[in-house]
Each structure stands twice: as C-alpha cells, then as structure tokens.
C-alpha cells in the first residue's frame, strides 16, 4: 500500500538523471527528499506522478504499476504541488480551488463542505474573492496547496485502497517562516487522514525535524536514507 519507485533509471536526452533510485511514500507518514540542486529530485517526483516513464525499474501505487492506471485514476490517488504555477488569465482564487475538485456523480460528497474546511485549515479565507494574479508568491503557494488537498479530499470510494498521496515539490520555496510552518504543519496533519506525504526540501535540518523518513539524493543516486530520523 505504498507509492513506490523501485530501482528507477531515467535519461533525459543523453543525460542520465536518475540511476537505480528507489523511494517509497508510506501512508500516514512524511518522507522528505533532500539533495543539492540538479540532483534529480524533481525528476523523481515526476516519475512518481506518472508524468514520465522510467527507462528502467518500475513505479507502482499499491502494487499496481502506474502506467496501468489512467490519468484520472491517478489524479484521484495523488495530488501534486509543483514549484511554479503562473496563470495567463485572471481567475478568482475560488475558481482555482474548484479546479482541484474532481466531479464525480457517483459520490455525493459536498464540495462546499470540503472547500470550507480546507480553506479554514489553510487559513486562506481572506484570499477568497480575490484574483489569483494579484496574490503574492507565498499566497499563491498556499492556494495551490489547498487546491491539491481538495483534489484528494474525497474519500477514496470503490476500491479497498483507502490511501492517498500528497507530493510537494519545494512547497516552502516562496514562503516566509510563518507560512512555512503552516504549510509543513498542514502536510503533517494530513497524515491523520491516511495521506502519504512526500516533500522535496533543500534544508536538511528542516527535513530531519519534520519528516519520518529522509532520503538524500546526490547526482541521481540515493546516497543515504534514514528511517526514523532521531537526533
């Protein structure tokens, strides 16, 4: 029941980006992926999202190979907050949040309730009714985080796999200390909903303080992994 990359190898053009890298995102736990710039962290996240397929090795969710799941199934299973989310047109924050919600006639879960709860938790109530383009980088990051939560907020219906994953690619890059603590705290809190969280961070101290597992990626190779970091 994990989102799992096993011995994945990835080449972009002629450059080898990942070599025999393995990583597991475990439900109810936070895994931090750390490493220097260009180490292949984002590439590994893109593999786990099913955006690219590995040249070697495999990526699977709950034992099912990712390429056998459709894009919509994957979207209901995991959501992603990526580093840059610029929009060419003037959407309201309310509309951006609604984008996360995947309509499902079979499941009557109420968008209003989910949205109200997520907005309250993420403390972005004051941003509703504003245009997304007028927000600061940090505010946009918070809105994107809320949108990603809404995407997987619905109870996983049907299958026996009641597990979802939240993948955060440097979620704190634009944030001040207060919002950094808020977003990381929220990510941690989602593990109570049985979410498995993967967070890409630069700061190894923060990773150690915040995550259950830390994986260190250097030059496309997993250089160190540490279960239950304790200092």
């Amino acid at each position: 029941m994990t989102l799992c990359a096993e011995n994945v190898t990835l080449e972009l053009g002629s450059k080898r980006v990942l070599t025999q890298a393995s990583l597991e995102v475990v439900p109810s736990q936070v895994t931090a992926l750390v490493g220097p710039n260009g180490a292949g962290k984002s590439s590994l996240v893109r593999l786990l999202c099913g955006e690219v397929t590995p040249g070697g090795g495999s990526v699977s969710a709950g034992g099912e190979p990712l390429e056998r799941l459709g894009v919509r199934e994957q979207a209901r299973l995991r959501s992603v907050v990526s580093q840059h989310a610029a929009m060419a047109f003037d959407f309201y924050v309310d509309e951006v949040l609604a984008m996360g919600w995947i309509p499902d006639p079979a499941d009557p879960a109420d968008y209003d309730d989910a949205c109200t709860e997520v907005v309250a938790q993420c403390q972005i109530g004051h941003l509703l009714g504003r245009k997304y383009k007028t927000l600061s980088g940090g505010e946009r990051q918070c809105v994107q985080f809320a949108r990603a939560l809404l995407q997987i907020w619905r109870d996983a219906c049907g299958g026996d796999v009641d597990v979802r994953y939240l993948l955060l690619d440097e979620p704190t890059a634009n944030l001040d200390l207060g919002h950094e603590a808020l977003v990381l705290g929220l990510a941690r809190a989602t593990t109570a909903r049985n979410f498995g969280v993967l967070v890409v961070l630069h700061d190894i101290d923060m990773a150690a303080a915040f995550a259950d597992h830390v994986v260190l990626l250097v030059d496309g190779v997993v250089a160190a992994r540490d279960h239950r970091v304790t200092f």
């Binding site: 893109r46 999202c49 099913g50 955006e51 894009v71 919509r72 994957q74 979207a75 209901r76 995991r78 959501s79 992603v80 990526s82 840059h84 989310a85 610029a86 929009m87 060419a88 047109f89 003037d90 959407f91 309201y92 309310d94 509309e95 951006v96 949040l97 609604a98 984008m99 996360g100 919600w101 995947i102 309509p103 006639p105 968008y111 209003d112 949205c115 109200t116 907005v119 109530g125 004051h126 509703l128 009714g129 995407q151």
Partner: protein, 355 residues
C-alpha cells in the same frame, strides 16, 4: 469531463463562503443567457433590414408576397445563418486557442490559422479543377482543403511552441507574421500559376464576402462548424485546468495530449470551414473572447459559450452595418471588424505587456 454537466459547470459549484462570491461569478450564467437573447435580437434585426424593406410579421402571418418571401428565405436567411456561424466559430476557436496556448493574443487570424485555411482553399480552387470528383462532393472540397490548411498551421504552431518553450505573449504574434507571410507566398505562386478562369475564381473568393451565401453552400459549412464546436465546448473544464500548466493539468487528471488534439482539430475545422466560404474575417477571434472575459471572468465553462454567442451577435451586426450603411452597395465585412478590432488589439498589447 466529457459530460454535458461539465460544460455549464453545474457539477462544480463554487463554495458558499463568508466573503461574498464575486459579482462576475454570480452573474455569469445569467450573462450567458442574456447573450443568447442578444443573438436572437440581432438575428431578427439582420433579417428585417436590407436594401428591400421586408416585414417579418407579414411572413409569419403568411401574407408576404413572392418577392419578399424569396428575399427573406433565399437571400437573407442563409446569409445571417452563415454570418452568425462564422462569427461564433471564430470567437470560439479564438477562446479555445488562447486557452490552449495560454496566451491572450492567440487569434486564428493573427497566428496564421486563417491564412493557412486560405492557402488550402486556394490550392483546391486553382489546382482542384482537374480532380474528377462527383459533383455532389463539390461544395465540401474547398472547405475540406481549407480545414487541412488550417490544421497544418495550428499543428505546426503547437509543435514549434512545445519545442522552443511556451510562446511569450509577443513571440506568438511574430511567429504569426512569419506564417502569414509564408501562406502569402503560397497564394502568390498559385495566382501566378493559374489560368485565366482559375485566377478569376480565386480573386473573387479572396475578396471574401458573405454576399454569395446560398443554402447549398451554407448548409455544409454550417454543419461542419456546429460539429467542430461540440468537442471544444466539452473540454471547457480541461482548458481551465490547463491554465495551471501542462504538467499540473496532467496531475489533476487531464489527458493533455487528447485535449490538445481535440482543440487543435476542432478549432482548425471551425476556422477552415468559415474561411473557405467567406475569406478571412479579422479580429473577431481576438476581441470577442476578451470582451467576454472582462465581463464574466476567465472560466471556460462560461467563456466558451459566451464567446460563441457574442461572436455571432457582433458579426451579424457588423454584417448588417456593412450591407446597409452604403445600401444598395456593400462594404466588405472584414473592413468593419478590422476597423473595430485593430485599435482593441493595440490596447491589449499595451495592457498585456509584461512590466
């Protein structure tokens, strides 16, 4: 995403929240309905006005004489229908292409899709005469060639933009200039190559007018445009999600490759079918989606139907103006749309320029 619900957004209501829902969002469904009424009104006005005064009431009460009946049913009705459909097709494709390229300046005319269609149509007009094809297919040949030309350009633009990074606001216009120039070369060569009869047909066609709209030529084009509009309206939600980025849309469950294919194909078909009959009508695809965005916001579920309705309304009004202002003579309708659209385009550039 492919359900009718997704088109009008009933499936994803906006949250009731402590802050008042913005006016634009609250009023956007009534606004689209109002646009539909505006279109109906414009259609009636267009039918009623022209060189020969005709009473619609008489026609309804079956009291119109033969001449009036013919003017209305055989001359004005196909023309108004064609004008409306071309306007709707241009505005709808403009809105969809702007969404696809995530660029507010993507207009079928500006980026070269219309000239691609014109080149395709020219090739068929000049070189197609030798093709031995059943005459029943004939009304479809020029539109199909135009669609092929439009498709070629749109696809090329898309590949170009994926390969060399997303187009910046201004780059897309520069690429459009190059594409328009290339299509111009092609049409010039065709003019040089064609015999007298071919040149005559080509020249008349290039002047582009709605004046020759008759039922046999209008019906196939209208059907094509309606058919092309359906897939565009169905991907409204996917286009919304695409605004966050291609990768992000994929993460949110959008089959991005299918989305691109369907928008490129449908908008090329819609533009091509229109250009084949009436030549290039500029700026409708640029101006109309922006007006709608200013009024009811950027969400595609309302923007797309709104743009189609307003595009039809404005083009019908422009055409009515073109044929009544100097009646019984006619001003080319593209003159009217360009005169209104070009200043708007300048204003847009000034507004969208990255500061």
């Amino acid at each position: 995403m492919s359900s009718a619900d997704a088109v009008f957004g009933r499936s994803v209501p906006l949250a009731r929240n402590p802050v008042a829902v913005p006016k634009q969002i609250r009023y956007r469904t009534p606004a689209v309905v109002a646009l539909a009424f505006a279109l109906a009104t414009a259609g009636i006005v267009a039918l009623a006005s022209g060189a020969i005064p005709v009473s619609l009431a008489d026609l309804v009460r079956n009291q119109a004489n033969e001449l009036h009946r013919a003017v209305l049913l055989e001359i004005r009705a196909p023309r108004v229908l064609l004008v409306g459909c071309v306007g709707a097709a241009l505005a709808l494709s403009g809105a969809a292409l702007q969404g696809l390229f995530r660029n507010p300046l993507a207009d079928p005319g500006l980026i070269g899709v219309s000239s691609g269609a014109a080149l395709g149509a020219s090739i068929m007009i000049v070189l197609g005469g030798g093709l031995a094809i059943a005459s029943i297919m004939a009304p479809y040949l020029v539109p199909l060639a135009a669609i092929a030309g439009a498709l070629l350009v749109t696809w090329f633009l898309y590949l170009f933009s994926t390969r060399y990074g997303q187009f910046s606001i201004v780059t897309i216009v520069l690429v459009g200039i190059a594409t328009n120039a290339l299509a111009g070369v092609g049409i010039g060569v065709l003019q040089y190559l064609s015999d007298d009869a071919g040149l005559r047909t080509l020249t008349f066609w290039m002047m582009g007018s709605f004046g020759r709209a008759t039922w046999p030529t209008t019906t196939p084009a209208v059907l094509l445009m309606l058919l092309a509009a359906v897939p565009i309206l169905l991907v409204a939600r996917s286009l919304d999600l695409l605004q966050l980025g291609e990768a992000e849309a994929l993460y949110m469950g959008v089959d991005v490759r299918r989305l691109k294919r369907s928008v490129v194909l449908s908008s090329a078909a819609a533009v091509g079918a229109g250009v084949a009959l009436v030549g290039i009508v500029g700026f409708v695809g640029l101006v109309v989606p922006h007006l709608v965005r200013l009024a009811i916001g950027a969400g595609h579920r309302h923007l797309l139907p709104g743009a189609a309705l307003l595009g039809a309304t404005l083009t019908i009004l422009a055409d009515t103006l073109a044929r009544t202002a100097a009646s019984p003579a006619e001003i080319p309708v593209s003159l009217v749309t360009s005169a209104l659209g070009a200043p708007f385009f300048l204003w847009l550039i000034a507004r969208e320029r990255p500061r």
